[in-house]
Symmetry: C3
Subunit: 138 residues, 3 copies
């Protein structure tokens, strides 16, 4: 049994979903583990991690529009030092979650056919985001 | 230290919560691991995984009614090819999450007294759903 | 490779977020593992686990106020045996989640600079809450 850890960095360019399946799969494949568990952990509270459909792009735009209604910028928040998108970013990250663990079976992540891994940026301005990875298996 | 992986399949019959605690516990017990970590991963984006109270059934019906208000079928979505329940299914799965990891202590999943593991079907039509399982420990 | 498990207990005093980063880090440090994965699992369905900003306290009060609007006590619920805060507690715990896994890199939890680990009590009355911990690594 072995394990490996890594920090993946991504530059975001405003609110939205960035597919990171390829970057994550490439690092995982490089560890030469056949069976195991991969954990992704987003080191931020205004960006999140999400498994979502990777086919129809409308799923992602509908999701963004719905989150914008559920945690709107127009609400009054006590925490608004960094602008009106700051507190909604924390709320949207709370809803969608910041950690995922995915089994590795026969050398492949056990993602379903239509599942992609996404980094979800909730702030309007560009940010450097870090995802900590942990892989264990043999 | 050892590990085991498995795919559990379930047939769903419309929207609602299906308790899968017994099926999951049975597979886990069969691996003869005393201390470890069990991970469940739902291979879909319109069904989800949830720990919820296993006693009062009203908790589940209240939860379903609340999700139906939070992500209603009556909203206008760009993604509606598969019917009005398609996009709300993605939203409800996003809210409730698709992955769970549960410690195994002294040969038992560390679930609380009132906790059950549920597969949450968000589509109206029957589906075949797959849960990938990963267990590591000794 | 080694593993360790533990149950951490916390006394809560009504609704709100309790930072548990220090208690969790102290137990983890005592296991003398340099690289690994820590999993926290909340053994309840009306309390939850959350990574949230540990700097501005307004983030936490805004989060609580927003959850109170999203899953209000004033709604009519079928499940109300234990009072009007019972069912909203289940809904808020569902939204925020009850399980977290955090990589351990170079002897430290891979938390971001502004991330704290919180136990989120959703009931009005004091409760004894248990968090199951699992650590694996070397």
């Amino acid at each position: 049994m072995r394990q490996a850890t890594h920090i993946l960095g991504f530059d975001t360019h405003g609110q939205g979903l960035i597919e990171i399946t390829r970057a994550v799969s490439r690092w995982t494949a490089g560890q030469h583990i056949e069976q195991g568990l991969l954990t992704l952990f987003c080191r931020h509270t205004s960006a999140s991690l999400l498994i979502q459909e990777n086919a129809a792009p409308e799923v992602r735009s509908d999701l963004e529009a719905w989150l914008a209604r559920l945690a709107p910028e127009s609400d009054a928040y006590a925490h608004d030092d960094e602008g009106p998108d700051d507190m909604p970013a924390h709320l949207r990250a709370t809803l969608t979650g910041i950690q995922l663990s995915i089994p590795l079976i026969a050398g492949k992540l056990a993602l379903g056919t239509w599942q992609g891994i996404y980094l979800f940026e909730h702030r309007r301005r560009p940010h450097r985001r870090e995802i900590a990875l942990h892989l264990i298996g043999d």
